[in-house]
Symmetry: C2
Subunit: 224 residues, 2 copies
């Protein structure tokens, strides 16, 4: 356990700028959690577990419409840090995101009370938190640009290539519904688009699977 | 001038948490600037004038597509603070916004080097900066929800009511092009929508002017 925490230390960039007392408080309260694929770990303003560091696995942050539509705003991978699970620490965060595990995931958690009390007294920790928020803010600005200036065919192409890269295979196990939830659109729209991609020889569709046949053509579309 | 700076002090929420040395550094470097309506004060990553406090006037922050389309991401009014004019201070801000004066505007500016050096040593200033960023982040998340889940007729209705409220009149001097630039769409689309609003008796159109005739009906549409 002590060894595992030492691992954590190496991924926490401002560790060396903490006082011994602050280091002790973090190590004494640090938790590890194992989350099953599909579980929601944060939902709106109800939860505030704390600052989360992804040890292994994959998380997805998304927003929900009143009608239950979804759009992915960012995803987190190994050794990424999640601030939104500690959104209660920053009063001016006035929006709700949901965070779910896309794969079985192991996390380190600094509980919100511990992190908040250290952030209030430590300029390096507060500035690090600033950088974390700016990173997520940049993700969302990128999303705004995608939604505003890019047509959906290009977004679907880019999404399929991203999935293939994350999974390390051209055989992507995913339903049309899930693609729609990532991109903030309806299943029917995705089905129509994928059939068009299939007619153009870029993908092959089968039950619960999209196989990329012509990655170059898909890339040319996604970049355009 | 000293009196004017004292005014500034009352709008800077963490002033009492600064050391005397930090207060002196801010007062010694504090600038006032007068900006003409239509001037751009910040454009992408080129400029970094510093932390800006709007004394009087109105600023608009927007993003630009490669084709020159615009969408407003937030607006700033009297005593609002602008962090994006100091975006060079935070490495992880990886997006470009343009900020222009929508009215003749008077600003206070804490130059970026002064603010950055104080932010690095002061936890209260760093945490205040965090709250500022979270406020703008929340504005953009609100925008994402508008774009994703709200149809354009509702967004145009809400925009006209917002303008009427800012200007304190139902006779809004604005072109269809400018409305399109706020909402990230094309002039032709706005013209079509406003003509529909006119047919429904909600507005009256004349050269360079949109007059709200039925604010209640517009509100019902905008809320829906």
């Amino acid at each position: 356990m002590r060894g595992a925490n030492m691992d954590f230390v190496s991924y926490f960039p401002v560790w060396s700028k903490l006082t011994d007392g602050q280091k002790d408080r973090i190590l004494a309260s640090l938790l590890t959690r194992t989350i099953e694929k599909g579980s929601v770990i944060h939902s709106g303003s109800m939860d505030c577990i704390g600052l989360v560091l992804v040890k292994t696995g994959q998380l997805r942050a998304y927003i929900l419409s009143e009608e239950g539509r979804e759009i992915t705003i960012y995803r987190l991978f190994d050794v990424d840090m999640c601030l939104m699970t500690a959104s209660c620490m920053i009063r001016s965060i006035q929006f709700d995101v949901t965070i779910e595990a896309e794969k079985d995931t192991e996390l380190w958690v600094i509980p919100a009370e511990t992190y908040k009390s250290i952030m209030e007294e430590s300029a390096p920790v507060a500035n690090y938190t600033n950088e974390l928020m700016a990173t997520r803010f940049s993700d969302v600005m990128w999303l705004v640009e995608q939604i505003m200036w890019k047509s959906l065919d290009k977004r679907v192409a880019a999404f399929l290539l991203e999935e293939a890269s994350i999974e390390g295979t051209n055989e992507i196990k995913i339903t049309h519904e899930i693609i729609a939830n990532h991109l903030g659109t309806h299943r029917e729209v995705i089905t129509r688009m994928l059939r068009y991609f299939q007619n153009e020889g870029m993908v092959k569709l089968s039950r619960g699977m999209v196989t990329i046949l012509d990655a170059e053509k898909l890339e040319a579309l996604g970049d355009g």
